[in-house]
């Protein structure tokens, strides 16, 4: 449980520390005006970004706990390490490219190069879809070579971790789809830009999660 504990403690310390800091020298019983920013969250972020940050904290907790289970279960005698399909490297490349294209699209949206929104979104979506399909093919390959989900706990965890990660990407694809549909039906460019910005952050985050998962799967 150490992994989960450390990750959660880090997140909790960040939040609770900020709360403590903003409460430490206050004298709440004194009435009067306060500075304008006093009712704001830190960093002056928009609500959707704060919501997304909170959601990424939840997902971090989720994967940290799954990895805790992974490391606890690994110590039991029946664990036979799994050799991951080489295809995963190509999939990782797809996800890295998707992240990069999202960043490029986001930069274009911020600096007003709106004609790049549509190709950017399409390309990012295609690359992400390629990643997901690649993961499914990797499952197929494993199955074909007799590495079923039940054969061994290492296999079970491989399917579980990749599956959960894929589901989170799929969730992101809904936001991507809505942004893309709006981009092609001539929606408000600014609003689409904001969606692209949120997607970019989420994709970077899931890329990071994937790199951690992939690194762990390779090394064990």
């Amino acid at each position: 449980m150490e992994i989960g504990l450390i990750v959660l403690a880090t997140m909790l310390i960040a939040l609770l520390g900020w709360l403590l800091k903003s409460s430490f020298n206050t004298q709440p019983w004194i009435a009067g005006a306060v500075e304008e920013s006093a009712h704001q969250a830190p960093f002056n972020a928009g609500s959707k970004l704060v919501g997304l940050t909170a959601f990424m904290a939840v997902v971090t907790s989720f994967f940290a706990l799954t990895l805790s289970a992974y490391s606890l279960r690994m110590d039991f005698g029946d664990w036979v390490p799994l050799t991951e399909p080489q295809l995963l490297w190509a999939n990782t490349g797809m996800l890295v490219l998707a992240s990069m294209v999202f960043q490029w699209t986001r930069n274009a949206a911020v600096s007003g190069r709106t004609q790049q929104l549509k190709p950017g979104l399409l390309l990012a979506g295609l690359l992400t879809a390629a990643f997901l399909v690649g993961q499914l093919v990797a499952w197929q390959q494993l199955n074909a070579s007799g590495h079923y989900i039940t054969s061994n706990p290492a296999n079970s965890f491989f399917y579980l971790l990749t599956g959960l990660h894929g589901l989170h990407i799929l969730g992101g694809m809904f936001v991507w789809a809505s942004a893309t549909i709006r981009a092609f039906s001539g929606g408000d460019v600014k609003a689409i830009g904001r969606s692209v910005e949120l997607c970019t952050i989420y994709w970077h985050f899931l890329l990071l999660v994937w790199i951690v998962l992939f690194g762990l799967l390779l090394s064990t």
Binding site: L5, G32, V34, A41, V50, F55, S68, T150, S156
Partner: protein, 588 residues
Amino acid sequence: MGYVAIADRDHEIEHHDPQTFITKYIWSQDHKVIAIQYGITAIFVGLIALGLSAMMRLQLGFPDSFSFITPENYYQFITMHGMIMVIYLLTALFLGGFGNYLIPLMCGSRDMVFPYLNMVSYWVYLLSVIILLASFFVTGGPTGAGWTLYPPQSIMPGTPGVDMGIILMLVSLAVFIVAFTMGGLNYVTTVLQARCRGMTLMRLPLSVWGIFIATVLGLLAFPALLVSAIMMLLDKTLATSFFMPAISSMGVDSGHTGGSPILFQHLFWFFGHPEVYIVALPAFGIVSDLLSTHARKNIFGYRMMVWAIIAIGGLSFVVWAHHMYVSGMNPYFGFFFATTTLIIAVPTALKVYNWVLTLWQGNIHLRVPMLFAIGFIFTFLHGGLTGLFLGNVTLDLPLSDTYFVVAHFHMVMGVSPVLVVFGAIYHWWPKITGKMYNEKLGKWHFWTTFLGTYAIYLPMHYLGFQGLPRRYFAMGNTDFMPASAQDLNAAITISALFVAAAQILFFINIIWSLKKGPKADPNPWDATTLEWQTPDTPPKHGNWGDELPVVHRWAYDYSVPGYKDDFIPQNVPAEVAPAGRDHGVEEH
């Protein structure tokens, strides 16, 4: 820069007022309607769970008298009672119900920041409840694995509901967690982003603090339950071996290899202990506000109360294994968790002292919400003190499987939060409905519930000390239990049925109030917090009419010397009502 987020926020929640009955009350995005939907659904399943506990008590008090209660049924009742009460009633009611209603009103915002997500959250919650209740109607019935669902027995043949029951339970939990996450993201973001001008974090009422930190705990802890539910579902349906060890049942090899049931316990309690505080922290916060309002005195040590909530929230993640002392853990491990468990008593005790000191020299009005709040101090103190026993490994080992534990956790997280739920409903009822309830009926409700629950749970401590084992369908003839223990069990059952029946008073009161109750004053308790300062009662869509309130002071300016009224609402400017400072220094 400070205005960017405000503009942003107003844009986000700008939507047309709902017109038809369906958009207004069914597919509503208004946080107040969603809160009521959450509340009604949670209380409805809570009543089912109450009925189940009555059945269990009938069996325990009068064994062999009821042919329709089989051992299998009994375990199914236990499981569903526990799970419904902890998750589908208390978590949903405190966060989905009170969180939804109070956060925007107390923070001075028009709605949650993501109203659509909020609406979806309720409907997904309802879906989880329907899935859960569906398990009563499938072959084999609901799972009888106990609310902790420990493997291997929860998915082994021989446990009731091992076919569809356990699957529906796990799916329902997963769906619930999705619903909670959608709601929780809303509550956290709204508290952080949508406070009105002048509402600093340290001017928030403690109710919001409690709900906010509880939501943070929920968001970080529920994933542990989700992971374990998914893994157990795979163990059950695909025969993986995350938790299931190599085992043979009735001579048949189960096909599992080398999994770890203890791993499940770790994951479950990594969620399960914060869950206790997910229920307790909102109760703490709400009680603080009830006591302060009805004692006409500022809460004693506001900052300490906030820090205690934060500290409890942080500590609640490092005590989980005190539920697992009997799992055969390393003694050093047990020592560590006993220490952290006892440390958490420090901020908790601090809160109890502060509540009592808030009452000291207060102008106490023993109205119905106040009675429930003071009742909570008693029951929580009793439950907390027995927690000190069970937090120690050496005492927990002999007591763990006895009725002492049943008495402990029902006092601390059954009766105590439920008293707060009732207190809070009575307190905010005039605002929610615009009608007053019947004071006399409310007092009858309080005294029957309060004294009745003591009649149930106090004797259970003695049964536990005598070694009466919990989880048993029937005690049979044992040498170590005197015959009088059975008499006591019968008495407990009678008290339990009495308390269950007494809840009818509450529903009579509600119906009477809705039909014939006198119109409520907008601020019947002379309270300072923002929800009582709305232009309409009940507040309309958007809460504040044309202009958002501006906050000038904390939520606890009661009996400020030199001011004509004994309360100053949070939105009264400092120039209109000076003072506060001398008073505050004296208090701190």
